[in-house]
Each structure stands twice: as C-alpha cells, then as structure tokens.
Symmetry: C2
Subunit: 335 residues, 2 copies
DNA sequence: GTGAAAGCGCTAACAG
DNA sequence: CTGTTAGCGCTTTCAC
C-alpha cells in the first residue's frame, strides 16, 4: 500500500500539501491539486484510515451493537442503518452482545476502543446505571428500543406498552375474553411493557387476569411451541392467544396445527413485530407493526445531528405501534 | 481516556515496560507487573486500539463483507462467524456490499483500510479478476459460496450444481415430469449452478427442458410470487415447482394458495437453503439443506489457520447439500 | 499557497 | 529485567 510519502515524492510537493488536497482544504492552487491527484491515481493511493483516526481522533465510523445478529428483526435494522450511514459517508462497525451483560459491555468497549465516533446500541442485558454512566462519558450514543428516564433524549423506542394493549384490545374487540399470552423473558423491559399493556386491556374490559394463561418464553420459535403445548396440556379454555413476538406466534401456530386446533376458527392468534415472514405463514398472521426501519433510520439521524452536525433533523423519540389485521384473528360471536 | 503515559507515570516505570506487561511479554518482574496493573486499574486504562494497530500493523479484527445484512441466510452466517471469532479473541467488522460491484469493492477497500488482518467475503457482483488480483495482495481472504479455479484454496462453498440436481431429481423420483423452475438472477454464479443441476436431472430422466417453465427472479419472496403468477397465466401444465431458494418458494406457495392451487396435492414445491422459517410454513417446505453455519465456521477456521496460525485445522473447501424432506412435495402416481 | 516540524498512543528493536 | 529511541501514516499549527 502506498503511503502519503510516496504521493508526496511523486508529485513533488510536501505531504502537508498532499494532505490538504485530500481533505479538500482551501488555499491549494489548481495546478498542485492536479499534480497530487495524478500521483494518487498512479499509485492507487488510499489514505490509511487508522493513521488518520489516530491523528484526528475521529474515525467517521459509528459502532452498532445489537443483541443478536440473526433474526428478521435485527437484519432489517442493520440494513437500514448501514445504508443510511453509508449514504452520509460514514461507516458502520457491527458487533453482537448476545443478550449477556458481560458480552454487551465488552462489545461497547470494543467499539469505543476502535475509536468509533458514536454508538447505536440495542442492548437489553446491561443495566440502566451502566448506560447512564456511559452518557457522562464523551462518546455520544443512541439507545434503540429502550427507555431510561435519566437519558431519555438518547432513547428512540416503540411504545411497547401501547403495543401490548392494542393487541389484546383488538382481540377483546373481536369478542374474545379468554386470552392466553406467551411472553418474552420477563426481565427484559420490552417483554414487561408488552405484558403490562396486555393486562391494561384486560382490566379495561373487566376481565380477570388468569395466571394460568400466561407462559413466559424466550422470544424464539421454540418458546412459542412450548407455550402452546403448555396451554393445551393445562386444558384451560382460551379462544385467543397473544404472543409477544411473531417468532413465538409462528411456533404456536405450528403446534396448534399439529394438535388439530384450527387457526383462527378454533383459536385466534396475534403476533408482535410484523416481521417479513408473517405474511407467508398460513393463515397470514395478524400482528402489531413495529416500525423498526423507521426507528433505525431515526437513530442514524440522531447520530448525524448530534455527532456530525450534518443537518438539523427533527428527532422523534417514541414511535407508536399499529395493528396489522390479516387472517389469524377471527370474530367470536358472544353466546 | 487515560493513555499509556499516565500509566507509566503513575506506576513509575517506562511506557515500554507498561506495554510489555499489557502484552504479556516475558521478562517482567512480578513486582513491576503488579505496580503496572494497579495503575491500569486505578486509571481505568484501556489501550487505544487505533494506536496499537498503527504501530503493529495488525488489528486482531477480521472484516466480513456480505451482500446483504438481512434475510435469515446472512443472519445465521454472521452469527456463526461473530461467535467463533470472538471465542478466538478476534473481532468482526461487518459491512454490506448490496450486490453491487462498486459498492462491494468500496466495502472491501474500507475493510482493508481499517487494517483488518484478514477478510471473509460473500460477494457476487465483483469480478473473478478483481478477486484474483486481490489474492496477489498481501491481505489473506476466504471466499464464501463462490468457486474460482485460480484461487480455489481460498474458496469455501456448497456444491450448488449438485443441490440443483438433487432437488429436481427428488421431484422426478416422486413421479413428476412437468417441473417448473424459478431461478435466481442468472448472472449470479450460484443461480447458474443450481439451474445447471436442474437441467442435468431433467436430461438424465429424458425430460426435455421447457423454456416456458423457467422464470428468472431475484431470490426474494416477491420474485417467487411473480414466478408463480407467471406460470399460472401461461397455462402451462406443471405438477411440481423447484425454486432456487426458500424465500421464492414461500412466495410461490402464497400465490398458489391465493389461486386455489393446493400444495402439495395440486402442485409440489421444493425450495433451497433450508432457512429457519421453512419449518413454519404450511405445509412445511421440503428443501435442500445449505449448511451455512458449518460453512461460516469453516471460513473462520481458515482465517485462524492461515492468518493467526492458531491451530492447524483441516480445511474442507466444498460442502455437499442434502434433501430435507418435509411436506410440500407429494408422490405423483404415473398414469 | 506551501513546507517544516511536532505529535496522535502505541510497539519494538537496541542497549545496558 | 528495564529504559531509550525510533518510528507506524497521517493531520495540523506555525512560519515563510
């Protein structure tokens, strides 16, 4: 790899000047600029960004930490972030936290060390305190899908409680009163919020919350399978099932089918997230839309505004979920 | 952020010595080691990896370039890579190429600039020549899912031709002779290989290839929908459909259902990749297994062996696909 | 407009 | 065992 020295030598100017033309600084004559550019081309020169970072203490790259790398949800999020960042001439450095506090902190520190200018974090295991502490640090960051009062300006999230409420309200409006619920891990904030919304909807309709109709799973397909199997074994009556995400809903649907339970005629099912494949399930899954793409884009705007001062965007910190009605929920006439 | 100078000052030793203990070099007395460690702890010192990279010309991070960041396929691949790399104390820097040659090259150069030690590439737009040229460069890289004769040692891939062959052979063995095919973009090597395999299976069974039963799509769900719609409109007779990937198969299944075509009794469908959600479709999709996780892991082993000389792994360059029989293909009794 | 020189934070010979 | 001295490749005052 050619260095700035060689460019300087070949073009016959000092390396300061080379640096100037490379960085579009004012006060460089057209002629020398041309000479430098020619040398650059001839040598296939590309500045070494490590050296540049060291000198400027700035890397034009933002670190993105997500809990998981797979799953449709994170995929959509990362894609949106990468495209938007790249369009702004910045780069994304992506790492995974695997929903484990130590691993998440390790990931954050890795990204800071790599001299990222700013961070986009989607973490759930790390404590609020850690994050609040981090905010006193110099590195700016946005938190996706998490709300912490003390640093709410840094948070961009969905109103999960409202989502949980809307889902169950939708079921209730369709005539259901015996509603089972498959939750995510209750220690996760979003899982907790969604179930709170569920309970609020029940309360509003004067339906007692039945603990036997609650199953705590893991946000994965398998958990949905387990949940449905559990409910079937319990022999509890339920005409509808709300799931805290779509993967679990698809698992539940599969088990229902295997047990001869018809969806939606025997049991209505509603998901959460509106992940791409919900549309390809049979029946197509009714779910709650999680505008993850918009949220991810907003996170990038936040970074562009607060770290790179590119433009003065309006930042919207909380997004509202909406119901996507498809085929998996059916009206239940009251007896 | 504290620097090595401050650690040196606080502990009362030179920065070389600090550097030595930080890097576990031999010949440092227990006592000074302790002093340094104390200072490190006290100052919350973490070495700046940018400076370190510049000095060593090595970053302990490997660049991963994929065509897309979303989709179950890439998600599984990235997860496997990230976990394995991290277990070896290395880090992944991930970028996307978006199946566009310029963008892919840009991504590769970005990763090189960031002084990655090695690269894992999953690219399809960039030319063979570029890659061959790159191999003459100093940076080692593995190519996932692409075979180039000249640099075959760097390639880790699936035998796509065999996969295409097996899929259609499976259909033929089930009694089908009128087989439609929805392909990926034909300029992509893997799409081309898969269809070659399809043709070989047909030829072997003395079935003429019918160009009207071929639809070139884009490997996306939408393409599968379009393909199925096209075949229906054509009014060509076909009792089975092979799709070059699962997303397209799911799209085709959806359109079939919307048109009253029952899968598999009216039309058998086979996919390719064995992506996680195939199991949650209805009927569950019969498909060709693409051991992407194993392939991704092998790529990391390649890097560990060739760049970091950690262990002398055995490298397996080509993997074989297998049929995963589920519910979407049915035996067709000959008349 | 352009060059010289210092320095970003760290590692790596080379002495001692 | 430890300190001194050069850099790694680039940016950035400060002179001219």
């Amino acid at each position: 790899m050619a260095t700035i020295y060689e460019v300087s030598a070949l073009s016959g100017v000092s390396k300061s000047t080379v640096s100037r033309v490379l960085n579009d600084h004012a006060n460089v004559s057209e002629k020398t600029k041309q000479k430098v550019m020619d040398a650059v081309k001839q040598l296939h020169y590309r500045p070494n960004s490590t050296a540049r970072s060291l000198a400027t203490n700035r890397s034009n790259s933002v670190g993105v930490l997500v809990s998981e790398l797979h799953g449709p949800f994170y995929g959509d999020m990362l894609t949106a972030i990468e495209i938007k960042l790249r369009a702004a001439g910045k780069h994304a450095i992506i790492a995974a936290g695997h929903s484990d506090a130590a691993s998440e902190i390790d990931g954050i520190e890795f990204l800071i060390e790599r001299s990222c200018d700013a961070l986009i974090l989607h973490v759930d295991a790390v404590s609020d305190e850690y994050l609040i502490g981090l905010s006193k640090n110099s590195i700016p960051f946005v938190l996706i899908n998490r709300y912490i009062e003390e640093i709410k300006e840094n948070c961009i999230c969905l109103d999960n409680e409202l989502g949980g409420y809307l889902a169950s309200k939708y079921l209730i409006d369709q005539g259901h009163r015996d509603i089972a619920y498959i939750s995510g891990p209750l220690w996760k904030k979003d899982a907790g919020d969604r179930i709170s919304g569920h309970k609020r909807a029940l309360a509003e309709a004067n339906i007692d919350f039945n603990a036997q109709l609650l199953f705590e799973a893991d946000f994965k397909v398998k958990g949905g399978c387990d949940g449905m199997s559990y409910f079937i074994a319990q022999k509890q009556k339920f005409t509808a099932l709300a799931c805290a995400n779509d993967e679990m809903a698809s698992g539940a649907m599969k088990v229902a089918r295997e047990n001869g339970i018809k969806v939606p005629s025997d049991c209505s099912i509603i998901g959460f997230d509106n992940v791409f494949f919900t549309e390809y399930l049979y029946p197509q899954l009714t779910t709650v839309n999680f505008p993850i793409k918009e949220i991810a884009l907003m996170a990038v705007r936040w970074i562009l505004k607060n770290e790179y001062k590119t433009k003065d965007f309006n930042i919207n910190n909380v997004f509202e979920p909406t119901i996507i009605a498809r085929e998996s929920v059916q009206y239940l006439p009251s007896k």
